[in-house]
Amino acid sequence: MNYLTPVFGLLFQETNSRVSAALEGIKHPDLSKFLVIAAILFIIGVAGVLTRRNIIVIFMSIELILNAANLNFIAFSRYLQDTAIGSPLSGQVFTVFVIVVAAAEAAIGLGIVIALYRNRETIWIDEIDLLKW
């Protein structure tokens, strides 16, 4: 690729430097890449919560959202370890608590789903409207 650099450099000087910066980012992913991945997972979870009708799939989307937050915590924990700014492992400690709360939430939520299914015979959220109007 190097022998082509003068040719492209004359034509697309700005683009070339941007492309090489992007390639550098792909070869050496840093904190921002982890943040972008976590943001995309978070949005997928939010879209799932907002669009699905099945209440169990909505719970699964919530788990996806919590995992995106965990990924952020761990990425910042590693970043603080490497740059030695703050307390390095508090992100990992907090992630343990997020996992605990997620487990408790899943147990309670699924208990509610079972009780609801016994009473209403449905798991579609647009039919569970007893408290709505």
Binding site: L50, L71, F97, G111
Partner: protein, 217 residues
């Protein structure tokens, strides 16, 4: 924090796997397929945790989420499944205007988040290049004790996470244990049947199912 070499290859593999599996979780017609895709997404995220040097959290993620929470999900799907969804008789998404609005606002949210990351990331201090990171990591590894086979080195990160869970995060740790107790009792209370409820309240189920008073009363 900069990854390099094979680490970056695995980073891209696992992050793309996590995103694709997450999308399929949201879009799968069958709830069991959704759960299985969510499991693969969670395992990919656990691999990302290992890349970030959080081996303990990766293990907890696989044991608690994949081994515990997702099995619970699968059991509830089996108990509750109505079958109309995967046979195509029921819509899996909400009404079209709702879905359109949700997708538009999700798109706005993702654009805002990416813009915020782009803007804010430049302001963070980063005095490292890939070469210095690799050199630093190798220098750190030389100070660690070797393991039994002598091939790799033992890190003390997990030990430090454990000791900080019991020292400065001791109070939240105890509160988390109480929360888990409440969740156990709450899910048992929620999931019992009417008959079990009456038995716990010491009421004869015959009275409720047969409300007419006996003759001669």
């Amino acid at each position: 924090m900069i990854l390099s070499g094979w680490e970056s290859v695995f980073f891209w593999i696992f992050s793309i796997a996590a995103i694709v599996a997450g999308l399929l979780t949201v879009m799968a017609r069958n709830a069991v397929h959704s759960a299985l895709f969510l499991i693969s997404s969670l395992v990919s995220i656990a691999a990302l945790f290992i890349l970030l040097g959080a081996e303990f959290i990766a293990g907890v993620q696989i044991l608690v989420y994949v081994g515990g929470v997702m099995v619970l999900f699968l059991f509830v799907i089996m108990l509750v499944n109505v079958g109309a969804e995967e046979e195509g008789r029921a819509a899996i998404f909400n009404r079209t205007p709702q879905v359109a609005a949700a997708l538009i606002f999700s798109l706005l949210l993702v654009l805002g988040l990416l813009l915020a990351i782009n803007r804010g990331y430049k302001g963070l201090p980063k005095a490292e290049t890939p070469e210095t990171v690799v050199a630093n990591r190798e220098a750190q590894q030389q100070t660690l004790p070797p393991n039994a086979t002598g091939v790799s080195r033992l890190t003390s990160d997990t030990q430090r996470v454990g000791s900080s869970l019991y020292s400065y995060a001791a109070l939240p740790f105890e509160i988390a244990s109480v929360l888990l107790l409440v969740a156990i009792i709450g899910s048992v209370m929620l999931a019992r049947t009417l008959k079990q409820e009456l038995a716990a309240d010491d009421v004869d189920p015959e009275i409720v199912s047969n409300p007419t008073p006996p003759a001669g009363n």
